[in-house]
Symmetry: C2
Subunit: 349 residues, 2 copies
DNA sequence: GTGAAAGCGCTAACAT
DNA sequence: ATGTTAGCGCTTTCAC
């Protein structure tokens, strides 16, 4: 039914090999111009499309990479995916979608599924609590790069924003605004490196400015609106009035907290300054636009593909850490002079 | 390097066919229990993984479907993708990602790319202005279903929410609240069926309630925050004070409009009632939570896959239209009695 | 410059 | 109940 190489060959009066050569441009000048033209014409006329399966089988490749995503419901990964897709397409790689669901403990299935579909490598995106399956795949030799997270127990290169630095910048910004009692709402569960790094950045900034960390001002979050909302209520109960600023480890948490403030009659930014992390699309459109730390999402997606290709082709690849960018909006009050750092700037470690 | 069928066969002391039979469970009872066990054991021990390419080549299938997405940057498609992925996985189909960029006029490339990767069918998701390439693929016989849109020029089944009905419900809700001067911010460009349907629903509701449509109250949007923001300003200039309510054709536009109102000192919902469409994740978390019309996104993704599989397997499939659900929150003021309709309810046309 | 032969890993059809 | 043969559509030697 579908046109094959030999159909074209027969029609053009040449052998399959010749057609193959023309199509793939193997031996650039070892095919006569006349033959090449004839073949090309026939290919076009017959609307020939190479069979990926056959080519793949012969080459021992699938030309597919997988992206295992967690928390698809957030608005973060759209840009990431765009970056991944574009970079992959440029390398003639297809992107197979896998969705992980932390909540259902289905973490594993997506990875296994991708593997069994023969992907040449996997981009392991998002929060990770238990990289057990990923570890196993890596041990089996499947190229894998972590995106937006860096689990120490996982022997795979990562592409991340500098969580520590971003948190440090955010906290320092609040300090320069004159705040002393700065709380942190964070997903600092023991096994989430990402949240841990942000917490560390927060701590370091305070200490560097001679302020002792008050552990009662550090409340657990969980990357969601709800968690930020709850955390804010808890914070209010525990230390009403003492806190003048909050650094939330994600925009989700920040927005949840903002909502809680509004309900409790606490004015942002007048009564309390609020800063988030991630720069999600909606953060700029809130009634009180959120000051936050941005990640170069699309570039990070592209970088992950680049690293993965290195791995696939047998090269080692460095970890990549992108520079975060502080985005000053209104949720912390008065405009700051020039806290903008450069975006897209990247450091290799 | 990788373990193949014949490796397993040799190791287990049987022929390749036998191994194949055990693995695929062809001829359920035509393999002796003893042999089956031996094979299974060997397969496990050698960690054999079937080669998708070889199987695909032989079967003449790729076991892949493509999803061509537009506007990946929005937070809408996360849930859609989840639905698509889950339904596809259940049917043992992989999901290949394609991203279309309307802005760059790159609409075509993703579709072509998916086709050349041999997908068995395509889910064509999102706003469509010019379905030319899609039309071409359909003409070539590639199964394709439209998701979240229904372009009349495209001879392919669709899965959508009932845009007309949703818009009608939204407008009617405003009417029951006592509003007479209701504006519409909508993406009613001539070639976007989705926006057109919503506009039609708006018009019908007004007319059914004996209110003549004032065309000056219908301002063009564009599915984005910015467009809603601009539209609101335009509306204010044109008919300051005359309008008491606005139905925006998307939550993005509604939020943009809300922001504009805030800047102009117009209070939502006191001075003006505002209702959106889509129920994006953040809409519930705004300072003034947005009343809106929800779509059963995950279910729609699943339905699209189901329809696509029908097509792939040579069956015809009906269009599917999901029932929208009015979500009453605070942006229109006073709580309504019980405007909640059922969700997940679907009508086939 | 071009073609013939072989084989990638698998399954379907036909033996035995 | 198991094996043999053939071939999916392509690319890669190697020969002419």
């Amino acid at each position: 039914m579908r046109v094959t190489l030999s159909d074209v060959a027969r029609e053009a009066g040449v052998s399959v090999v010749t057609v193959s050569r023309v199509i793939n441009d193997t031996y650039p000048e070892k095919v006569s111009e006349k033959t090449r033209q004839k073949v090309l014409e026939t290919v076009a006329r017959m609307n020939y499309k190479p069979n990926v399966m056959a080519r793949g089988l012969q080459k021992g490749r699938t030309f597919l990479i997988g992206v295992a995503i967690v928390r698809v419901a957030d608005s973060f990964f759209g840009e990431i995916l765009q970056g991944i897709h574009d970079a992959a397409a440029a390398a003639d790689l297809g992107v197979l979608l896998g969705t992980r669901r932390l909540d259902i403990g289905k973490d594993e299935s997506a990875l296994r599924e991708l593997q069994s579909r023969g992907v040449e490598g996997i981009i392991y995106y998002g929060t990770t609590q238990d990289p057990q399956t990923a570890k196993y795949l890596v041990a089996e030799g499947l190229p894998l790069v972590q995106l937006c997270n860096s689990h120490t127990k996982l022997d795979a290169p990562y592409v991340v924003v500098d969580h520590f630095r971003g948190a440090y910048q955010a906290t320092e910004y609040l300090l320069t605004l004159g705040h002393k009692r700065i709380a942190h709402i964070g997903a600092y569960q023991e096994r989430d490196p990402q949240g841990l790094m942000r917490l560390a950045g927060y701590r370091a900034a305070l200490q560097d400015h001679g302020i002792e960390v008050d552990e009662s001002l550090v409340v657990p979050g969980g990357w969601t609106w709800e968690s930020g909302y709850r955390a804010m209520h808890q914070l209010y109960r525990q230390c009403q009035g003492k806190v003048t600023a909050i650094f939330a480890s994600s925009d989700f948490e920040a927005v949840g907290a903002m909502r809680a403030c509004q309900e409790m009659g606490i004015k942002v930014p007048d009564d309390i300054a609020l800063i988030g992390f991630d720069d999600l699309p909606f953060s700029a459109w809130l009634d009180i636009p959120l000051t936050t730390v941005a990640q170069p999402k699309e570039a990070m997606g592209q970088a992950a593909v680049k690293s993965l290709i290195d791995l696939i082709e047998g090269r080692s690849t460095p970890n990549v850490m992108f520079e975060p960018e502080l985005i000053v909006r209104r949720s912390c009050g008065g405009k700051s002079p020039s806290q903008k750092s450069e975006v897209g700037n990247l450091l290799s470690t």
